[in-house]
């Protein structure tokens, strides 16, 4: 695909536009790096993480702590969509074996489109993403022998499905932020309105997620998320933050600066 895209680009750029060329090249490099990791990887133990930080005392201690608290992890592609991808994979994986929670989520997800349209999102384009999202959710609901973990894994590594799920969760996040704009305005730096923030930092693909995205999505879906922070901080432990505060977390994520992976307790 990369090649195809650059030919299109070359054909267009008969005029000189250095800035755009530089931008294009930067994108290409980022893309090549990120595509070395599958969209969602296989389950693995913490030995590869240990190797990654060999010789780094601060991180090694935290990997130790992590492996005392969790059984395994699953990496996601570092393409700016990792929070949404990790969250949806981990959550839908659990729904495979939790019919009660599945019923609740199915009802909520079905209604979510009307909610977005009521908030002023264009029906026509939202429908496109909602349809694909519901197609995946419905397949998860078949459960038993018809749709297995392996099927889910395969589906999340098909870019078409995987990215559409990410887009739809971005829309739900944006919808929640705008619905509760008065509350979320306090968390936005600078003079940006909540709507501008959503247009610039939430709805577009490849934009990284911050606390505000996690709070909005976990509240909108009523799904607890525990994020374990692994950074240069003093503590020898991987500190936990629960979103929304005080809920029982069902999805566990590992955060390293700029990136989220999935954790399994």
């Amino acid at each position: 695909m990369g090649e195809e895209r650059s030919t299109l680009h070359d054909r267009f750029d008969t005029g000189v536009n250095q800035d755009e060329l530089i931008l294009q090249q930067q994108r290409q490099i980022e893309k090549e790096i990120s595509e070395k990791t599958p969209l969602v990887g296989d389950m693995e133990n913490f030995s590869s993480l240990e190797k990654e930080y060999a010789g780094d005392a601060v991180y090694c201690q935290k990997v130790q702590d992590l492996s005392a608290k969790y059984k395994s992890m699953r990496r996601t592609r570092p393409d700016g969509n990792c929070f949404f991808r990790a969250f949806s994979y981990a959550y839908l994986e659990q729904l495979l074996n939790n019919p009660e929670e599945y019923e609740r989520f199915y009802a909520l997800a079905s209604k979510s489109k009307d909610n977005l349209v009521a908030l002023g999102f264009p029906q026509f384009t939202v429908e496109d993403f909602h349809d694909t999202f519901m197609e995946v959710v419905s397949r998860v609901g078949k459960g038993g022998g018809t749709f297995t973990q392996t099927d889910l894994h395969k589906l999340f590594n098909e870019q078409g499905y995987s990215d559409y799920i990410v887009v739809y969760l971005r829309l739900i996040t944006s919808g929640r932020l705008q619905q509760e704009a008065e509350f979320y305005q306090h968390f936005i730096e600078g003079n940006r309105s909540v709507t501008d923030f959503c247009h610039q930092e939430v709805e577009p693909m490849y934009k990284e997620s911050d606390h505000i995205h996690i709070i909005a999505l976990s509240t909108a879906l009523n799904v607890g998320v525990r994020v374990r922070y692994m950074d240069r901080g003093e503590s020898s432990e991987v500190i936990a933050h629960d979103f929304p505060e005080g809920t029982r977390p069902s999805v566990h994520l590992l955060y390293r600066p700029g990136h989220y992976d999935i954790l399994y307790p």
Binding site: M1, E4, R5, L8, F12, T14, G15, N17, D19, E20, L23, R27, F121, P122, F124, T125, V126, D128, F129, T132, Q159, G160, D163, Y164, V167, L171, R192, D196, H199, Q200, E201, E203, P204, M205, Y206, K207
Partner: protein, 168 residues
Amino acid sequence: MAGSALRRLMAEYKQLTLNPPEGIIAGPINEENFFEWEALITGPEGTCFEGGVFPAKLIFPPDYPLSPPKMQFTCEMFHPNIYADGRVCISILHAPGDDPMGYESSAERWSPVQSVEKILLSVVSMLAEPNDESGANVDAAKMWREDRAEFNRIAERIVRKTLGIPTP
């Protein structure tokens, strides 16, 4: 991935055919290839481009609508936000962060909920109200600011040319 792009483009084409926005026609050049479209845009009333019918080409990436298309006028154009080779330079054709022109942060950007229709409507607004701070065509931007009469004369000549009317 191109499968979802194709499905979306077919749906947008249908939508644009059933409910065409005023003054705009758009669709694939050849129904064998939904990733290259042609659009005809009528110059907005009450502006120097009034009466013109401007043809343009839209090229969609394989991951549309995650990434935006590119748009290029195929007729002669003279406008602050259009490059000499016809490429259109407006914020909605760029995702936030992809910012060769340094658009204002509040300007409308590409996101997957945008559509061809939204782009074409933005282009009509751009024809009516050039943004003379984005210098895709610096000469046009300068003339728009400093010599509106001459700008209007050039626009009129281009309008006539798109209609095939000989210029005086």
